[in-house]
């Protein structure tokens, strides 16, 4: 994992520092960062470290050293290589490199860093489906038309989806229909939560178009449910 920060030399140090301060002031930070003695267990168990040029240890070390320039570089590049599986929570020092990365990503999204926009670009439709319907993507959505970028093998998977799913130990296809049955009340509550907790503001920062169409979907439901959108949002 490169430690070369020259690519971001033009970004004022104060801006980088402000982002780091925001990461550090997150209430979870103190519970995720106790100090690293470089044992490397987090790297050994990390699936991303195995397949990418990525190291949870380097991220944790960089934060511990408060290397503001390198932290900025990592927020713009490396944090997006983490799969957020939290295998690294095996840390004997009880650090959570994955948790630290969660915070770094959230700050990157809040400030609309280019890397955040790029990393989330491919997930717009998934975010739209989940936030508009209030539910997860159903297993039967694994069709070639929905995932053209996965290549021709998706067809093989979708053709035999039932058999693939039966091969998994827990039952999975039972949610195909029920997962889409979200009650109106639940949906209204989810919409309000996303408005009040700043999720909608974050989305606006990284994808204005997505924000626009989500607002279209949500506005009507919230008004129907008697929520005062103006009083509950910054818009």
């Amino acid at each position: 994992m490169s430690t070369d920060t020259s690519k971001y030399a033009d970004v004022p140090y104060e801006d980088k520092l402000r982002l780091f301060e925001e990461v550090k002031s997150d209430e979870r930070y103190q519970r995720y960062m106790y100090g690293c003695y470089e044992c490397g267990i987090c790297v050994a168990v990390c699936p991303s470290a195995r397949f990418y040029d990525f190291s949870p240890r380097v991220i944790t070390q960089t934060l511990a050293r408060e290397d503001v320039d390198l932290i900025y570089k990592q927020m713009n590049e490396d944090v997006w290589d983490c799969s957020q599986c939290f295998s690294c929570n095996k840390c004997p020092r009880q650090n959570s490199p994955g948790g630290l990365i969660t915070i770094m990503r959230e700050v990157a999204v809040k400030h609309g860093l280019k890397s955040a926009k790029e990393a989330l670009e491919g997930y717009g439709r998934i975010i739209y489906k989940i936030m508009a319907t209030g539910t997860q993507v159903a297993p039967d959505m694994l069709q070639p038309s929905a995932f053209p970028d996965w290549g021709p093998h998706v067809k093989g998977i979708s053709d035999n989806l039932e058999w693939w799913r039966r091969a998994l130990p827990p039952e999975t296809l039972h949610t195909t229909e029920s997962s889409w049955q979200v009650s109106e009340k639940t949906l209204s509550e989810l919409y309000l939560i996303w408005h009040m907790t700043g999720v909608m503001d974050m989305i606006k920062e990284v994808d204005e178009g997505l924000h626009m169409i989500l607002m279209d979907v949500m506005e009507e439901k919230l008004e129907e449910a008697g929520f005062d959108l103006d009083a509950n949002t910054k818009d």
Binding site: R125, A146, D149, G209, M212, D216
Partner: protein, 95 residues
């Protein structure tokens, strides 16, 4: 009533989703129900059966001034295709 820049329709592709932003302010009179069954018509017949909404403009005279049309539009598209490195579009344009 839709203001210029607000969403008229939602466009979904494999991964991306976004709004079709209205070029004008006005009232939506009708939406093309045919598109529910076959959205591909938009590609096949953009100036015919593939229309999306019918609108009654309310500030057309003012908003028309901002339109880019004719040769200027072609040139603007060409520039955008180059800037964004849209290879598929370049191949189509080259025939």
């Amino acid at each position: 009533m839709r203001k210029k820049g607000q969403s008229l329709a939602t466009i979904e592709s494999g991964k991306w989703v976004g709004p079709l932003k209205s070029p004008i302010t006005g009232e939506i009179l009708e939406a093309n129900a045919l598109l529910d069954k076959d959205p591909g018509i938009v590609n096949q017949s953009p100036y015919g059966d593939g229309w999306i909404v019918r609108m009654k403009p309310s500030q057309l005279d003012d908003e028309k001034k901002a339109f880019v049309t004719g040769d200027a539009a072609v040139e603007a598209y060409r520039k955008r295709i180059e800037e964004q490195n849209m290879r598929a579009c370049a191949e189509v344009a080259a025939g």
